[in-house]
Symmetry: C2
Subunit: 220 residues, 2 copies
């Protein structure tokens, strides 16, 4: 095992809940009343898929242009709800440990680069960190493309790396990319749900991943 | 089976997520950085227990007076995050059905009466509805007192009623009151977690409880 690929929102940064409320308010603005828990379960896929899925369940469909407008509104509300990008416990420390131990890692996220820069700064990862963001592909999670692109940039085989993520979508996308997934609870999804999705292990948070790093089979 | 006892937040009203973010911001104000998912798991117990539990994990303790101040701040922030009290899908319809069918029901919540009035109004329950709120007892969930008090006011034995709730705390408190519990997913807690806690059934939301009402063994 040579490398780790991290999801960002809910895995390294405490941003799932404000994302959910920002989407709820955005959709409320077009008279789509969606309970927060239902949105929560879709955080981690692209805004386009999220809007389409919640709309379909309510008999509504959307043009691409409408969805782009909604995404812009969501981004503005998200910045209001979460003006600070707060790393989750142990996240910055885990990345620092990996750098010092010489273990490759990357970040693969559905978020667009300009929206995630504040999060990357808060995590104190340098500009040399491999980051594959949502602007590089139309195929967000649960498609495997983001993880596959990240793995290729890290120059590792799928059997020699692990995905670390908080959402069922991360686990599904990792499996489709042929990569084993490790779950964390910091996005608010329960242990059993992540295990059922196929996570090989589930830890409390990035801090626990660090404390139990030898369980992952990395070359340390 | 003669009566149903409902939890309020996350079961009838879509308020768990704004409660979580309001607590997160309140605690941030005293330099206690707590990830949202960790707070989410404590929603449903009293503010006092929540603050004590999250504080203890971080080596901090609080006087009663300090906690009251924090609760006041939380209440104000909650009203900002959730100016509208939005009933969850099917909640008002379920209560209406029970009234028309002549099935007794009550609401047992940790919230204080003046904070929950807007929610009760949104649910269109009359002033004759049996409501046991947090001001009537110091012993909030997971103590059984709120459910026991509600059951007594409804004049039913514990074996002749059911609790409907979204949180593990509801299920624990119901079991301690000798009452079977039915879980709903609308507070963002997963099905397996509610089942593991001891819920006899888990439904998606109040609307599904209504559609499958005959599964509960009520005298209809």
């Amino acid at each position: 095992m040579k490398a780790l690929i991290f999801d960002l929102d809910g895995t390294l940064i405490d941003s799932v809940y404000p994302h959910a409320l920002a989407w709820q308010e955005t959709l409320h603005g077009i008279d789509m009343i969606v309970p927060a828990w239902e949105i929560h379960r879709y955080i981690g896929i692209s805004g386009r898929l999220l809007v389409r899925a919640l709309g379909r369940a309510r008999g509504r469909s959307f043009e691409d242009g409408e969805i782009e407008q909604l995404e812009t509104q969501h981004d503005a509300l998200f910045r209001e709800y979460a003006p600070l990008q707060v790393p989750l416990p142990g996240a910055a420390e885990l990345l620092k440990f990996l750098r010092e131990a010489g273990v490759s890692y990357g970040i693969a996220t559905t978020g667009k680069r300009k929206e995630i820069q504040a999060a990357l700064d808060a995590l104190q990862v340098g500009n040399d960190c491999v980051v594959v963001d949502g602007s590089s592909t139309d195929k967000a999670k649960p498609e495997p493309d983001l993880f596959t692109a990240c793995r290729r940039r890290l120059r590792v085989e799928s059997s020699n790396c692990l995905v670390v993520g908080d959402a069922v979508w991360d686990v599904h996308a990792a499996r489709r990319a042929g990569i084993l997934a490790v779950g964390v609870l910091t996005g608010g999804v329960g242990e059993q749900e992540l295990s059922n999705a196929g996570a090989m292990r589930v830890y409390r948070d990035a801090g626990e991943v660090l404390r139990r790093i030898d369980e992952l089979g990395l070359e340390l």
